[in-house]
């Protein structure tokens, strides 16, 4: 049973990592939103699985919230935003595709190195997925830094939050429920404000390419 639990944890984490790689590989914003949606679905399923194997029914609530907010509501809002802004392709990111992919591979290796103290301490069956969660964290940071469209940066940030949620689920089978609720509320509010700003940027600058946000320099 523990073997299956461990396998499921690692499969789920790898799946989420691969969804992040889609953002570095593909060019269209629609693909990014789909990748984020699938990543959230896998996260929700994994949370439910941890709830089942770890005998913690609170995690079912968390999983349902994850599905509802991150796999349904947020992608829908993102699609609406991206349809309004016709520039639907990340044409020339700051770091090109092949280099981005190689850098992300190196970031995963870095994550394995950084997570060594964690694996030494952990004894839960899910510990094999923790380096992958940290790898996803680093890759999300890289997405935010290396992409030009504002909406891609938002998706990168949402993936960063997924990475941290994954880390919490794998390391400690989730955080206390009240904290979880607070985090969800904050995440939702943060996303709504970012969305408002996307509209603002588009209205003010007629584009959502953050390369034009260069007026304020030093």
């Amino acid at each position: 049973m523990q073997g299956v639990f461990s396998q499921v944890a690692v499969m789920g984490s790898s799946g989420m990592l691969l969804c992040a790689l889609i953002v570095l590989w593909r060019r269209g914003v629609a693909a990014y939103i789909t990748a984020f949606m699938w990543q959230s679905v896998v996260l929700g399923a994994l949370t439910a699985a941890v709830g089942y194997f770890g005998n913690d029914p609170q995690l079912y609530v968390v999983a349902v919230l994850l599905f509802g907010i991150k796999a349904v509501a947020i992608p829908r809002l993102l699609r609406r935003v991206s349809q309004r802004f016709t520039a639907g392709r990340e044409s020339a990111p700051y770091v090109n595709t092949a280099t981005s992919l190689v850098v992300s591979g190196l970031l995963v290796l870095l994550a394995y190195a950084a997570a060594r103290p964690l694996e030494a301490v952990a004894d839960a069956p899910t510990r094999a997925g923790m380096p992958l969660a940290m790898g996803l964290l680093f890759i999300s940071l890289f997405i935010i830094v290396s992409r030009k469209l504002a909406i891609t940066q938002v998706i990168g940030f949402l993936m960063l939050e997924n990475a941290i949620a994954l880390l919490a689920v794998l390391a400690t089978y989730g955080v206390p429920l009240i904290v979880e609720l607070g985090v969800f509320l904050d995440a939702l509010m943060g996303f709504i404000v970012m969305q408002i700003f996307l509209y603002d940027i588009h209205d003010t600058f007629s584009t959502t390419d953050v390369d034009v946000l260069k007026r304020l320099k030093h």
Partner: protein, 316 residues
């Protein structure tokens, strides 16, 4: 290793591979045709093509050098040697001591290199173009396949093909581990690149400017063309067998008993059909990538290999 029975088994395996390779390609073509709502040529059409080509006269360019004449034999020879080492029905093979995964990959690369040279040899523009494209793709896919192999070798503790297959048989649960799956996908992508299938290269194209593999063999005719084509089909067969029998090795016979061999034959056939169907479906659904996008695809393969290596490190 060099006893008569062993040699007989190996020769038998080489002949079997040679016999089945055209059928594999024929099956892929037939399936693609059916998916495109055509009737398609029958599965044994490639055999007919080979027979036709062997009977025809050759036309050799005046500018061709010894490389042009040597290349088909080198390509064919190296691919046959590879087919001697890859576990098709039996593992471990009698020649298992030299069946090293890196050796296999680089033997295939030897064939590719000579083909590229032959494309350049006659001085035709299309041949040169095909050769340069092919070498670009080979250069970029080489680290990808090296990493995919490395992850397999790390998991098994050796680069010997027989060992890898045996180790995977001994631990069934490892077959579904993410490192394994990622290495499989990486190898599959490299297979598409190395054997000239979509989305890297269209094997059925008539437009010279879109050719990679076909451009290099434009100048060949008659028996030489037969050898080169057969070698490329055999290369696809070898890659598919590697993918099938290294990652899903159940069904391989461990002895030469006829019952075991029959089971192995059936299981290998099923796995090859599945992989061929996968290739056919992919070729029907996906459009050919523009040339400057191919490195991106191979970078994905590289990263998957890197992730597979990292995960196999952590499992130990």
């Amino acid at each position: 290793m060099f006893d008569m029975a062993g040699i007989a088994v190996e020769i038998g395996q080489a002949l079997l591979s040679l016999a089945l390779a055209p059928a594999l390609v024929g099956f892929i073509r037939w399936l693609k045709a059916r998916m495109q709502n055509r009737r398609g040529a029958p599965i044994w059409q490639p055999y007919a093509e080979l027979r036709k080509l062997f009977r025809k006269d050759m036309v050799v360019s005046r500018q061709a050098s010894w490389v042009f004449h040597l290349a088909p034999f080198v390509i064919f020879g190296s691919t046959i040697v590879v087919s001697l080492l890859v576990p098709v029905l039996v593992t471990p093979l009698p020649f298992n001591a030299v069946a090293d995964l890196f050796a296999v990959v680089y033997l295939l690369l030897l064939g590719t290199a000579f083909l590229a040279l032959a494309g350049l040899d006659t001085g035709s523009a299309f041949g040169g173009m095909g050769s340069s494209r092919e070498m670009t793709i080979a250069a970029i896919s080489e680290p990808a396949i090296a990493l995919a192999i490395l992850s397999l070798a790390l998991a098994a503790g050796s680069t010997n093909l027989g060992e890898i297959a045996a180790r995977t048989i001994a631990r069934p649960s490892s077959a579904l581990s993410p490192g394994h799956v990622m290495a499989f996908v990486a190898l599959f992508i490299v297979m598409l690149a190395e054997t000239g299938r979509l989305p890297v290269d269209n094997p059925a194209t008539h437009l010279e400017l879109t050719m990679i593999h076909e451009a290099m063999i434009l100048e060949y005719s008659g028996p030489y063309l037969a050898l080169v084509e057969w070698a490329s089909w055999l290369k696809l067969f070898v890659f598919a067998t590697l993918a099938a029998n290294l990652f899903v090795p159940w069904g391989l016979a461990t002895s030469l008993a006829p019952a075991a061999l029959a089971v192995a034959f059936a299981s290998t056939l099923v796995k090859l059909v599945v992989i061929a169907a996968g290739v056919a479906v992919l070729e029907t659904r996906v459009a050919k990538l523009r040339l400057f996008r191919v490195p991106e695809l191979l970078a994905v393969s590289f990263v998957l290999g890197l992730l597979a290596v990292a995960s196999s490190f952590s499992v130990r």
